[in-house]
């Protein structure tokens, strides 16, 4: 039986779609961990990014945090906190807590950097005019800066979400559920069908998330610029990845 046949057989076997190890349960676990991590990261990074972008205070600290966060590998971070969280809670401390923590650390840098770079990139004259019209600082942030910076801010959330969904897979190396289970268990048990079925599921999920969020970002960009299409600048053709 070839790999493709084995994968198709595994994916279409009704037994793999039910029970506690079934695909719906694993998918729900995967999305649950990703979503919780993303919400925690948003709650931390979004206000911080908006604050730094608006006041321009503490940008050095924000860049420093983002740099370190980007440099620390997720799996090393999981390893680092695992013995500590496990001492508190032997079950979830081995799977859930370290994974969520690592995913939060993964999601914070892109959200933080984009929020603060987006707000800072808003034309200073527009902000000055709003201030001259008597808007309070909070009104300036809410009515002027956030709407204008929305596409950039959403870009950060999108890249955080896609990275988190893709990387939640790593939790399976430890005891976390989620779709990564199939990849890790399939490899360990020499079960090519399960392994490739898992690969297909995980890749499909990550690409779907990327597609959906890209669409959302385009909608938001259309809403702020007044046209449905994002102006195709050089930046959209080849978005450079540069660290500060």
């Amino acid at each position: 039986m070839t790999v493709i046949d084995a994968t198709a057989a595994w994916l279409t076997d009704p037994a793999n779609w039910t029970g506690p190890n079934g695909i719906p349960v694993r998918l729900a676990e995967h999305l649950g961990v990703s979503l919780v991590s993303l919400l925690i990261a948003l709650a931390i990074a979004l206000p911080a990014g908006l604050y730094v972008g608006h006041t321009r205070r503490g940008s050095g600290i924000a860049v420093g945090i983002a740099n370190v966060g980007r440099a620390v590998p997720s799996i090393a971070l999981i390893g680092l906190v695992l013995p500590i969280t496990q001492a508190f809670d032997p079950a979830r401390g081995f799977s859930l807590y370290p994974s969520v923590l690592a995913m939060v650390a993964l999601a914070v840098p892109p959200i933080l950097v984009n929020a603060f770079a987006g707000i800072r990139g808003v034309d200073a004259e527009v902000v000055g005019a709003a201030r001259g019209m008597g808007l309070t600082e909070l009104q300036i942030l809410r009515r002027i800066e956030v709407p204008l910076a929305l596409p950039v801010v959403l870009g950060g959330i999108r890249s955080a979400a896609v990275q988190v969904i893709a990387t939640t897979t790593l939790g399976a190396i430890f005891a976390l559920g989620g779709l990564g289970r199939y990849v890790v268990d399939g490899l360990a048990q020499n079960d090519d069908g399960m392994l490739f079925g898992g690969v297909v599921l995980v890749a499909t999920l990550a690409m779907t998330a990327e597609g959906l969020l890209a669409g959302l970002q385009r909608l938001a960009a259309g809403a702020t610029t007044g046209s449905g299409r994002r102006p195709r600048s050089r930046a959209t053709l080849a978005r450079p990845i540069a660290a500060p």
Binding site: V3, V63, A66, V68, R70, A71, V72, P73, S74, I75, A76, L77, I78, G79, L80, L82, P83, P110, V113, N114, F116, A117, G118, V152, G155, G156, S159, V162, A166, T167, T169, L170, A172, I173, F174, G180, V183, V184, G186, L187, D192, L195, F196, G198, V199, V202, A203, A206, M207, A209, E210, R234, L237, A238, R239, P240, I241, A242, A243, P244
Partner: protein, 220 residues
């Protein structure tokens, strides 16, 4: 909490794994840079190629690393290639974009001036455009090196012969042995941070004329 005796017994293993880690990462970044430069030059000549290349690269980047490593085992079997192919693919995503952006950042006036001085296409590319593209390419190498150092740990999934320091994280987790997990995790983090700092230096050294212009935050 830390079993110092175990650490003392495993100094040679730690050194060996650190070496393996750097070796796997260095090959991936070097090969990735070579391919990206070739593709980038091609794309600079034929703009139509940029979008499809970027699209494919973005697609690869969304595939989770453990899925790609695991898939490679079945496709090409177990060898250094199994570890290197995914690592190189991930560096391409970062490096290709930055090479293209680097060539794009060359001011048109400079290109025209080079043409007026009758530089041939290749000479213009190597002696005029490439040096001006260095800041963005170097920034890409920095990000690629740091991310590759993280990804090398995942290759431990393939078996004990791979993974660099990731070997200790995997084995430690399997055995529930905190000291061994730390022996893998802490040096990995330090290596990644050191690579980050190192490439900031390299970047500054390669582009002395940019010394005063502070590096800016570019949203990913």
């Amino acid at each position: 909490m830390i079993d110092w005796g175990w650490l003392a017994d495993h100094v040679p293993a730690l050194l060996y794994r650190t070496g393996q880690h750097l070796y796997l990462a260095a090959i991936a970044v070097a090969v990735g840079l070579a391919i990206s430069l070739a593709l980038g030059v091609l794309a600079a000549r034929h703009r139509r190629l940029v979008l499809p290349f970027t699209f494919v690269a973005d697609l690869v980047y969304t595939i989770p690393s453990i899925a790609l490593f695991a898939a490679l085992v079945v496709v090409v079997g177990l060898s250094v290639l199994t570890a290197e192919v995914p690592l190189v693919l991930y560096t391409l995503v970062i490096l290709f974009r930055n090479v293209v952006a680097g060539f794009d950042a060359v001011p048109p006036d400079v290109r025209d001036a080079a043409d007026a001085m009758s530089y041939s296409g290749t000479a213009r590319l190597v002696r005029v455009e490439l040096p001006l593209a260095v800041p963005l390419i170097a920034a890409g190498v920095r990000v690629a090196a740091v991310s590759t150092i993280g990804l090398v740990t995942i290759s431990a999934l393939l078996g004990d012969a791979f993974g660099g320091l990731g070997f200790f994280i995997f084995e430690g987790a399997r055995r529930g042995f905190a000291t061994e997990i730390y022996a893998g995790a802490i040096p990995t983090i330090l290596l990644a941070l050191a690579a980050d700092r190192l490439f900031v230096r390299v970047q500054a050294w390669l582009t002395p004329w940019e010394r005063r212009a502070q590096a800016e935050v570019v949203p990913g």
